[in-house]
């Protein structure tokens, strides 16, 4: 609690300073909401700077953070432009809002204070933060998670310093608790305060929102930020407060820093601003000024993450767009496979998405049955506010189709909820009564104890609140031991693995409760490579060797390319590539220069004489992928000898040679043989893992490959060192 309270106070103070500097004074809940959000954007950026220079010490954070509220008080000045609050709430609506907010707020607070065990939280949202705190700042994590923008996580960092793991979830909860005030304020501004109450509660009570907002995730925070952009724009447009474009831009940048998929709000901001400017005939100089006023704060917040990724990962938008920005850290094939996987969650067909997102739960989380009324949001188009809400909803909703987990609806949900509320409330005569019934039904159906009545089976939602664990009457370590399988294996790693040694861990990725380095199966190029080595002995098509001899008329050349001629949904892998003339192989020379059209960084693995190591293209096979050898002098050859795993036999390969300054395709024929797996293939795989710096394997019983390790430790060349909660720790001999 203390850590989160500290973060809240500091963010609020920073936001207040900003609005004082802008000479804008907001009112009521809107003021808390926008000051907190803009302050969060500033504090997050400041934390980025502190982490970059490795000054993340508790004392520094407390000293710097403690100064901010003092500054806010010291530099207070009379209000400049006082923003009007809009229409007032009637007592009935006020009571409905306050009672519901408090009731669920108490539930949410208890849940957030429970020890943190959320999967993504412990693996990277908090997992990486705990490592940053351990290192007093950023340290390079070679994985897609290490490259995500961590705008919200930068707020977790000071909370973690003061209150450890569950303080981070309470920081996330702050966004959930404040967003309804922003939505309520918006309802008042558009003259429909009842719609503000209904819309905010529709969002606030949604089961997936409650679950997500009470753990150390970032989706609800992102929703709060993107709605903040929208609210700032509305205040700017309705009151002609030019200064509000600054917080709008700041929050648009922060939305990128929170979650890449929220960046469409920046596009919306720009279009909105341009449209309003043109409609008012304010002229191009004003347009340029406004563009600058919004863009500069956005760059201030989003820019550091883009620059960091450009420097560390050679891809400013890492972990996306790796085809455009090739790098050694993440094979494009990982990105494309994840996209395919995430776009088909649970195998739910498109037509069933609305049902599963509201009631069914196969998308991991539901927004609640009342959202089956979502088509009523179309009634809101009678109002200009409704039309605008739906316009803002669309760009934020579209990324859901690239990752259709329930929680990926959250950033767009405030807009849908508000539009739905406007639609319902605007129904003549019946509207207000119907709206109250909808809110009450939503509250009843979303209460955890009652959800089982209408939605049996697993749902990703708040379980029954454990107040004893939240208040630490049940000690944290006892709770974690009893409720979470991955906790004890983490302690086992701390006890038995030396610092700095890498553990290959195909089924446990939590970094939050131990201090060792884990390598999984898909989060980086290195992880995928390790996983492929690990499963090679387990899969015959990978363990068998496919030998190609590609013959062609003798040619004299200084450069040769092995080129793909077909398409395949797999990557191209070459274990060894050799050149021959007649019966003699061309001896490899240190002077040869090798490269490839894709993943050139690992080309030496195809020339190392290692029986199992391989170069991979790291992307799916398309015609024209090449692996090039530059001999440095003219050489005569008539054959290429290619060793691959047997699963590669379906990719057609050809040869090109440099002749007279241009690449010439050689007419070739191929003869193939398959060599059965060598008896030593397991030890070879172990040795490849060791060459990658891996010294240990941590794997639970029942996981893929676990039985084979357990049945054949001697021929793997591994020794079981310990067992914890069904996880076995193997040492590579």
């Amino acid at each position: 609690m203390l850590g989160a309270a500290f973060v809240f106070a500091v963010c609020l103070a920073a936001g207040r300073l900003l609005f004082q500097w802008l000479a804008v004074r907001l009112r009521g809940g809107e003021r808390v909401y926008l000051e907190f959000l803009t302050g969060a954007a500033l504090v997050s950026t400041a934390m980025f700077a502190l982490a970059s220079v490795h000054l993340v010490y508790t004392s520094v954070l407390v000293a710097a953070g403690g100064l901010l509220p003092l500054c806010a008080w010291w530099f207070r000045r009379p209000a400049g432009a006082v923003s009007s609050a809009g229409a007032r709430l009637t007592p009935l609506w006020r009571t409905l809002f306050v009672l519901t907010w408090l009731t669920f707020g108490a539930l949410y607070l208890i849940t957030a204070m429970t020890p943190e065990t959320s999967p993504d939280g412990v693996s990277y949202h908090v997992g990486l933060i705990s490592r940053y705190y351990q290192h007093r700042g950023f340290y390079f994590v070679d994985s897609m998670f290490g490259g995500l923008a961590e705008g919200v996580e930068m707020l977790f960092l000071p909370a973690f310093a003061l209150g450890r793991h569950s303080a981070t979830a309470v920081v996330h909860l702050l966004f959930l608790l404040t967003l309804p005030f922003g939505m309520l304020a918006y309802g008042r501004r558009i003259g429909l305060p009842a719609a503000g109450v209904v819309g905010s509660l529709l969002f606030y009570l949604a089961p997936v929102v409650g679950r997500d907002g009470t753990i150390a995730y970032v989706d609800v925070a992102t929703a709060a930020v993107v709605f903040g952009v929208y609210l700032c724009l509305e205040i700017w447009r309705r009151e002609s407060l030019e200064a509000m474009l600054v917080p709008a831009g700041l929050l648009a940048g922060f939305s990128y820093a929170c979650k890449l998929t929220a960046s469409p709000i920046a596009v919306f901001l720009f279009i909105y601003m341009v449209a309003v400017t043109l409609a008012r005939r304010d002229g191009f100089p004003t347009l340029w000024r406004r563009a600058g006023v919004t863009t500069l704060p956005a760059i201030l917040v989003a820019g550091p993450w883009i620059v960091r990724n450009a420097i560390l990962f050679h891809n400013p938008f890492f972990p996306l767009f790796n085809n455009w920005f090739p790098n050694p850290h993440l094979y494009p094939i990982i990105e494309s496979e994840l996209r395919r996987l995430m776009a088909q969650m649970g195998g739910v067909p498109l037509a069933k998405l609305p049902w599963e997102a509201t009631v069914g739960g196969k998308l991991a989380g539901v927004i609640g049955p009342v959202f089956l009324l979502a088509p009523l949001a179309l009634l809101s188009v009678r109002h200009s506010a409704g039309r605008l809400l739906l316009l803002a909803f669309l760009p934020l909703f579209l990324p859901f189709f690239s990752n259709n987990g329930g929680r990926f609806l959250i950033p767009s949900l405030p807009f849908l909820a508000m539009a739905l509320a406007v639609g319902i409330v605007s129904i003549p005569r019946l509207g207000p009564g119907l709206a109250v019934m909808v809110v009450l039904a939503h509250a009843v159906l979303s209460w955890p104890d009652l959800m089982d009545r209408w939605s049996p089976g697993f749902q990703w939602r708040i379980d029954n609140a454990d107040w004893r664990a939240a208040l630490r009457i049940t000690p944290e370590n006892v709770y974690l031991r009893e409720h979470w399988r991955d906790y004890l294996p983490g302690l086992m790693l701390d006890r038995l693995v030396a610092p700095g040694e890498v553990v290959f861990s195909p089924a446990m990725g939590q970094l939050a409760y131990h201090h060792r380095e884990l390598l999984g199966t898909y989060e980086s190029s290195k992880a995928r490579l390790a996983f492929l080595y690990f499963i090679t002995p387990l899969e015959q098509p990978l363990a068998n060797t496919f030998h190609r001899e590609i013959h062609f008329p003798a040619v004299k050349t200084d450069r040769v390319r092995l080129v793909t001629r077909s398409t395949n949904d797999n990557d191209l892998r070459i274990e060894e590539l050799r050149f021959a003339l007649g019966k003699s192989e061309l001896p490899r020379e240190a002077a040869w220069r090798i490269t490839a059209s894709a993943n050139p960084w690992e080309t030496p693995l195809a020339f190392d004489n290692g029986p199992l190591s391989f170069w991979t293209s790291g992307r799916t096979v398309t015609p024209g992928l090449w692996l090039e050898t530059d001999f440095g002098h003219m050489a005569e050859l008539d054959r290429l000898l290619v060793a691959q795993s047997e699963d590669q036999r379906w990719t057609s390969l050809g040869v090109e040679a440099m002749e007279d300054g241009k690449w010439t395709r050689l007419h070739s024929r191929e003869s193939d043989t398959v060599e059965p797996a060598r008896a030593s293939v397991r030890m070879e795989a172990r040795d490849e893992l060791k060459r990658m710096g891996i010294r240990w394997i941590l794997i639970p019983d029942g996981a893929y490959g676990a039985d084979d390790l357990l049945g054949n430790p001697a021929i793997w060349g591994v020794t079981q060192v310990a067992v914890a909660n069904g996880f076995r720790l193997w040492k590579l001999n």
């Binding site: 920005f325 020379e589 002077a591 530059d630 030593s680 397991r682 084979d708 049945g711 060349g717």
Partner: protein, 194 residues
């Protein structure tokens, strides 16, 4: 498009273009790996956190100190290892032993005899203070003679040791001892060679 607009767009996109336009990386042929021998091991390792199942220290091997990978033997060390008696593998007895200078200086060269199930399989003379890696082939029939329950009895007999007042004498420093064999297709239990 106005020149000013082009300039602004150019400035805005330059960092992104620079990030994406790295030079084509080129590499040299790496050092060539040499052929490697892969051996299955069933070894007692001094100081290892866990030992292969079925290993039992019988006598003459002192407890290993914390953090050490060696332990003292007496003049007659004995342990049992569990090997599959039906295995057709050509096992070798492998031992990694240090001849301690403090002993060598007092006793002169030590003569070691390695015995498996009562039969001598090899002898070695340790005449220098260093680590000795020793390997002796063992007849499969000798291993099968062990039967199934007790495991294979391995003994080290040392002719010269350093007496210890009030305790057993100091022999050699034992790092590891047990059976190994080169991998062959018959060793596969699961997976590709089924």
């Amino acid at each position: 498009m106005a020149a000013g607009m082009r300039l602004r767009l150019g400035l805005a996109t330059t960092p992104l273009l620079l990030a994406g336009c790295a030079q084509q990386p080129v590499f040299s042929v790496p050092p060539q790996r040499t052929a490697q021998e892969f051996r299955v091991q069933d070894l007692f390792r001094a100081g290892a956190p866990t030992q292969p199942p079925g290993i039992r220290l019988v006598s003459g091997i002192r407890p290993t100190g914390i953090g050490l990978d060696w332990t003292w033997t007496t003049d007659h060390a004995a342990l049992r290892l569990a090997l599959d008696p039906q295995s057709n593998a050509r096992w070798d007895l492998d031992a990694r032993i240090t001849c301690a200078g403090v002993v060598l200086d007092k006793t002169g060269p030590q003569h070691l005899t390695f015995v498996v199930n009562g039969e001598t399989v090899g002898k070695a003379t340790l005449d220098a203070a260093r680590i000795w890696n020793l390997r002796f082939p063992v007849e499969p029939a000798l291993l099968r003679a062990a039967g199934s329950g007790e495991g294979v009895l391995v003994e080290i007999l040392i002719d010269r040791t350093l007496p210890d007042a009030g305790g057993p004498p100091f022999g050699v420093l034992l790092h590891e001892i047990g059976f190994t064999h080169e991998l062959s297709g018959a060793d596969q239990k699961h997976g590709v060679a089924q």
